[in-house]
């Protein structure tokens, strides 16, 4: 089971691969859309890659609740199988 820091850095890697953003920019309080400028198509790719990396299922209905990086980290941490 990955801890919060491991999930955050794993997510930062995924975001970097998809958008080219510096992984250091990917912080808990950052909003995916407002701060990181990630569009819905990129978000979908990030979600699918995160599912694969952390062995979780993130339902489409849940994705809209993941406003900040912290929301995603928390969701992944509490749903890891």
């Amino acid at each position: 089971m990955a801890d919060q820091q491991e999930i955050l850095s794993g997510l930062a890697e995924i975001v970097n691969e998809e958008t080219g953003l510096d992984p250091a920019e990917v912080q808990m309080d950052k909003s995916f859309t407002d701060d990181l400028d990630i569009d819905s198509l990129s978000m979908m790719t990030i979600v699918v890659n995160a599912e694969e990396k952390f062995g979780v299922r993130i339902p489409d209905d849940e994705v809209k609740n993941l406003t900040t990086v912290g929301d995603a980290v928390t969701f992944i941490q509490s749903n890891q199988g």
């Binding site: 691969e17 998809e18 958008t19 080219g20 198509l41 990129s42 979908m44 790719t45 699918v48 599912e51």
Partner: protein
């Protein structure tokens, strides 16, 4: 209002001979072949009858970011590389975005994306299909991406006419400028169809050369030993600009883009009409629309793909169009070096025609050891041909499955 003239002010390309148009032209003048072996794994897995292709010389990551590469089909990557280079070559002109247009043709479009994502769907399920699959596979993915990159808002168009696509797009650009819809248009063609399905399909048609023991000698237009074309890929783009606009900003002008002629064979879905009636009408229309006479045309860059039937049909069409005047039109067959870039072929050969006029040098073909006696043309072999001083013009032919015929005329300036 006087007629708006169209000139060429920038060139860009990524081709089997190099990552730039300069390297490509050098390769052409050096008589180099762009043929390279195909990955052994592809050959083994599919028992491919063809073992080589003119794949691009450049890794797109030399120019694009990893993210750009991930989010664009290879066909769009090549188009973006060529378009950026062409705009830089034109001096990165400041153009009102609403007066800047794009016209990029493709024969096959995003075939790698389509089939990679189909593989993902079958092997891993719907969640693993890339959300950008559709905007990456659509045929207008290149013109859309180039428009986005350049902020071009006058219109972004995609011509699709198989191997005439790249030439036809330049006609679209020419019309946009002549009609006053744009002052500058980035125009050309792109193709990235080196997917196994494309080799398989063309091979099943017996359209590809299988000279596996001599890849560099496989593309041999007009030679008696020709046995089909060599698949190529890449993109070529020119910046077309309204003449007064170019003059006002002191742009370097390579040549005038004088006209385009088009026709359709309505004969057969792939075979050319053997007497060349349709192709000759396109050539005549181009010369007449340019306001030129046959004696003004001092050079032809032929479609000349190295197929047994196609090369003869084009030679007949040239004779039919120009009669004895064709004696004074030395013919280049540059696919002998570049291979056949399909939807980018007409664009690349359009650029090579511009360079031939600009440098007054018509390049020699390679691999013609025994000229087919059915080819009654002055085919340039051995030495490049120096073109005359003074006002000159040249013609470029492109033909596509579906019976599309496109001829461009380029004039010295």
């Amino acid at each position: 209002m006087s007629e708006r003239r169209v000139v060429v002010t920038g060139l860009g390309a990524t081709t089997p001979l190099g990552g730039t148009i300069a390297e490509t032209w050098e390769g052409i003048l050096a008589g180099r072949s762009g043929a390279k072996p195909l990955p052994q794994e592809m050959l083994d897995r599919y028992e491919m009858p063809v073992h080589f292709a003119c794949t691009i010389a450049q890794d797109p990551l030399e120019v694009l970011t990893k993210v750009q590469v991930r989010r664009m089909d290879p066909s769009a990557q090549y188009a973006v590389i060529a378009s950026q280079a062409a705009m830089e070559d034109a001096g990165s002109p400041e153009v009102d975005p609403e007066r800047l247009g794009v016209a990029i043709g493709t024969g096959i479009g995003g075939v790698w994306t389509l089939l990679d994502q189909w593989d993902n769907l079958r092997e891993k399920g719907v969640r693993r299909v890339f959300p950008l699959a559709v905007p990456m596979l659509m045929p207008n993915t290149s013109s859309g991406n180039v428009s986005l990159l350049l902020g071009a808002r006058a219109g972004a168009h995609t011509t699709v006419s198989a191997c005439a696509s790249g030439a036809e797009s330049m006609g679209t650009a020419y019309d946009m400028i002549r009609d006053g819809r744009a002052d500058v248009v980035v125009a050309g063609g792109t193709e990235a169809a080196t997917h196994p399905i494309c080799f398989a399909g063309f091979a099943q048609m017996q359209a590809l050369s299988t000279r596996n023991d001599d890849p560099a000698g496989a593309s041999r237009p007009y030679d008696t030993g020709r046995d089909g074309f060599v698949m190529g890929e890449g993109a070529a783009v020119m910046v077309l600009e309204e003449y007064e606009h170019a003059k006002a900003r002191g742009a370097r002008i390579y040549a005038e883009f004088a006209s385009i002629g088009m026709s359709a064979d309505a004969h057969h879905i792939t075979a050319p009409e053997p007497e060349g009636a349709g192709a000759s009408r396109a050539m005549r229309a181009a010369v007449e629309r340019a306001g030129l006479t046959d004696s003004d045309i001092v050079h032809i860059n032929a479609h000349a793909t190295s197929t047994p039937v196609g090369d003869v049909a084009e030679a007949n069409a040239i004779r039919r169009a120009f009669g004895s005047a064709a004696d004074a039109m030395p013919v280049s067959a540059t696919k002998s070096m570049t291979g056949h870039l399909l939807g980018a072929a007409g664009a690349l050969e359009g650029l090579l025609t511009v360079l031939a006029v600009h440098h007054r040098t018509a390049p020699a073909a390679i691999n013609i050891e025994d000229l087919d006696p059915q080819i009654d043309l002055d085919v340039i072999r051995g030495e490049h041909r120096t073109l005359p001083d003074g006002d000159i013009a040249a013609l470029n032919n492109s033909f596509g499955f579906g019976g599309h015929n496109v001829a461009l005329v380029v004039k010295s300036i």
